[in-house]
């Protein structure tokens, strides 16, 4: 038996806290699986996607997820490890896409082989990363963010407008980027006689790249360079004073991040077959940052998970039925975690179900005109909802009103201190929530999915600021 001091007892608080919940215990078990095995499992599972389905749409969504993962990993290296707030990251992605398009399309007349063009593109973007990095060496924190953000904007503006550039030695102005029309008909990626033509080809190509980059980033992180990057993030002055060449390390992080972005840019260009300026605008930047932050900055599985959630979930939410399951399932999950002990939960659920059913019966008996009878839904959940929920004739209008009522009642629920009041008020609120969902949100999935994502992010950032799999970081204690 080891000696067990007070110090150690204090030190293990985190472990003991973790050992409580079943989810956390499961996560703990998962952590015990050797890293290589976890990695292999993930890759095998991802590689099985095209085998499980021949629906091109599904594979395309999965491919997008892998592409975003690669991009987010590159961003994580710059932001999560080296701590440089690089808001021009997407410009490197765009630069990679445009450079590849330029080297392999009719636009320039060049048709370089892939084995030559992609390394050149990576080198080029890394070089530009180095240049941008070097102008930013004297800038710290927010100032660096502003300069790099400007760089990202300049890139989009240039690609949009460099259509009539007078070059020395040319009589006519030259179109360098194709403007808003972009560059089209880009050659597919091909090497060793193989030419990637289907979505599945690109999916496997991207997956192989993801595996490679995961390994590279993991190895980098657990080396002198990775430790130096993180030291830099923690305390630049101390890092410099401990013998780390901080300037060089910053430039290196910028260049490697840019190289990864350039690589994924070229694959993107080849896959999509064309590039347009608005493929690389600030929306994508925000999406990538959200992935990194949601998953947990600095955690590789976290970043991949963030990319998965933010690329797959909006697609899932497009389907009314699927999003319905997600919505009610999510609501149930939240209730189950918030209400304890469980008899109370049962009470609330029964209250909502029976109350709603009785309400519907009463309204149907007293004012039959207030209830419409829609077509019978195909799924069980749909039919159950129809029996339970009142759908009035002016569903949109009343749904809007209910939406306005729901927000303050949710706020009231979160502020009230009396358990009984909260439990009782919860019942009509839940009914109202379901009503709003069915009349307003499920009808317009394009808006709803963004709204839901927003809510998810707000809730997550409040309860887990370090992201899903991130380590909690302290600033100064």
């Amino acid at each position: 038996m080891e000696k067990f001091g007070r110090d150690e007892w204090v030190a293990q608080i985190e472990g003991r806290r973790k050992a409580r919940g079943p989810w956390l215990r499961l996560a703990e078990q998962w952590q015990r699986v050797p890293l290589g095995l976890r990695f292999a499992l993930f890759i095998i599972l991802a590689a099985a996607v095209p085998l499980a389905t021949d629906n091109d749409y599904v594979i395309r969504v999965a491919g997008n997820f892998v592409l975003y993962s690669i991009l987010a990993l590159g961003l994580n290296l710059v932001v999560g490890y080296a701590g440089l707030l690089d808001l021009g990251y997407v410009a490197f992605y765009g630069l990679g896409g445009y450079a590849y398009a330029y080297l392999s399309s009719d636009f320039s007349g060049l048709h370089w082989p892939t084995w030559a063009s992609i390394p050149l593109v990576m080198f080029l973007t890394a070089l530009v990363g180095l240049l941008l990095g070097s102008t930013s060496l004297r800038l710290l924190g927010d100032y660096l963010a502003i300069v790099t953000l400007g760089f990202g904007q300049i890139f989009v503006q240039l690609t949009n407008n460099m259509t009539r550039i007078s070059l020395p030695g040319r009589a006519e102005p030259v179109d360098l980027t194709g403007g808003p029309n972009g560059i089209v008909n880009i050659d597919p990626i091909s090497f060793l006689g193989f030419s990637a033509s289907t979505v599945t080809h690109y999916y496997y190509l991207l997956l192989a790249l993801l595996a490679l980059i995961l390994i590279v980033v993991y190895h980098l992180n657990n080396s002198r360079v990775g430790r130096a990057w993180r030291s830099l993030r923690e305390d630049e002055l101390a890092a410099e004073a401990m013998g780390m060449p901080t300037r060089w390390l910053k430039l290196l992080a910028f260049a490697i991040g840019a190289g990864i972005a350039g690589l994924s840019g070229s694959v993107f260009a080849a896959w999509q077959g064309n590039v347009f300026p608005n493929n690389f605008d600030v929306t994508l930047l925000i999406l990538l940052y959200t992935m990194v932050i949601l998953g947990g900055m600095g955690s590789l599985p976290g970043v991949v998970m963030g990319a998965f959630i933010l690329s797959v979930m909006p697609e899932v939410l497009r389907e009314v039925e699927l999003s319905r399951y997600l919505f009610y399932g999510g609501m149930l999950f939240v209730l189950a975690t918030m209400i304890r002990p469980w008899p109370r939960l049962v009470l609330v659920l029964v209250g909502v179900l029976v109350g709603g059913y009785l309400l519907k019966l009463a309204v149907m008996a007293l004012w039959p005109t207030l209830v419409t009878t829609p077509e019978v839904a195909s799924s069980f959940l749909g039919r159950a909802l129809q029996a339970w929920l009142i759908i009035p004739p002016q569903a949109t209008l009343i749904g809007n009103l209910a939406f306005v009522v729901v927000v303050p009642s949710l706020l009231f629920l979160s502020r009230t201190r009396y358990t009984i009041v909260r439990l009782i008020a919860l019942i009509p609120t839940l009914y109202l929530l379901a009503f709003v969902w069915e009349t307003r949100l499920a009808v317009e999935p394009s808006i709803t999915r963004l709204l839901l994502l927003g809510v998810l992010l707000v809730v997550l950032m409040i309860y887990r600021p370090q992201g899903l799999l991130g380590q909690r970081r302290v600033e100064i204690i």
Partner: protein, 262 residues
């Protein structure tokens, strides 16, 4: 032949002269203490030596070559390690990583070696890990075993000070600059750190330049004491000579007749 030699060093910030014509030497294996009231310019001297500031005038020589114009990390790699008055640990990294990170200047694996995990890289990695554990072992049981993988922010104040010293030790310094190593420590811990600084010199052979306010620490280990006031060296010599020096007493307490006049 002095290990460190500051000759006629000046430094001013705007109109404020912080270090005024400072001459200072540290011999190999010597423990020199720098004392003085708050704002006397002690930490500035450290920042000048480590290259965080450049002197306006004068020369700083270490190991017979000038340090002027070198980057701080180059100076560290020449053999000057330091700790900070306000602790500057890499708080969100583990204890072991804090120390291993500071071995950067002693390692040379390049990117290709790192990415492919060549045997050379693995060997180097194992080596600095062992080295880091050895440095931490210097502080006894406290920074051992389960502590290795704990984040630095979970450490107590005294342990953080110890970790900072360990971190400075792995840069393999010939000269160690300690900026108030006993600040925030209780009397027991202060006594221990005094003992430890002695050991650093005796066992590891470092020369030590020390900033300290605790006179017990200074009395216990200093070979020589230098007193600064308003950037000027007002006294130098043995502990006894300096603390009985009129000017030093005046700098700390004020002039005698001023007290009488009240």
């Amino acid at each position: 032949m002095a290990l460190l030699e500051l000759s006629n060093v000046h430094k001013h910030f705007g109109g404020l002269l912080v270090v005024h014509s400072l001459f200072l030497t540290v011999q190999p294996g010597e423990i020199v203490s720098l004392i003085g009231p708050n704002g006397a310019g002690k930490t500035t001297v450290f920042n000048l030596i480590t290259g965080l500031y450049a002197p306006d005038q004068g020369d700083i020589r270490f190991d017979d070559s000038s340090l002027l114009g070198l980057e701080p990390h180059q100076i560290t790699q020449r053999g000057i390690g330091r700790t900070f008055q306000t602790l500057r640990l890499f708080l969100n990294m583990s204890v072991l990583e804090n120390v291993m990170a500071a071995a950067y200047g002693r390692t040379c694996a390049n990117l290709a070696q790192i990415i492919f995990r060549t045997p050379g890289f693995r060997h180097e990695e194992a080596h600095i890990r062992a080295l880091a554990e050895e440095k931490l072992a210097f502080f006894g049981e406290r920074l051992q075993g389960y502590r290795f993988d704990q984040p630095a922010y979970s450490l107590s104040y005294a342990n953080r000070r110890r970790l900072e010293i360990a971190r400075a030790m792995i840069t393999e310094p010939k000269l160690l600059l300690l900026d108030e190593p006993s600040a925030g420590m209780n009397p027991n811990e202060t006594q221990e750190i005094t003992h430890l600084i002695g050991q650093l010199r005796d066992q590891k052979g470092y020369a030590i330049l020390l900033i300290e306010h605790d006179m017990n620490v200074i009395a216990g280990i200093s070979d020589r004491v230098i007193a600064l006031d308003y950037g000027l060296k007002i006294a130098e010599g043995s502990y006894h000579d300096v603390v009985t020096n009129e000017q030093v007493i005046e700098a700390y307490l004020g002039r005698k007749h001023e007290i009488r006049s009240r």
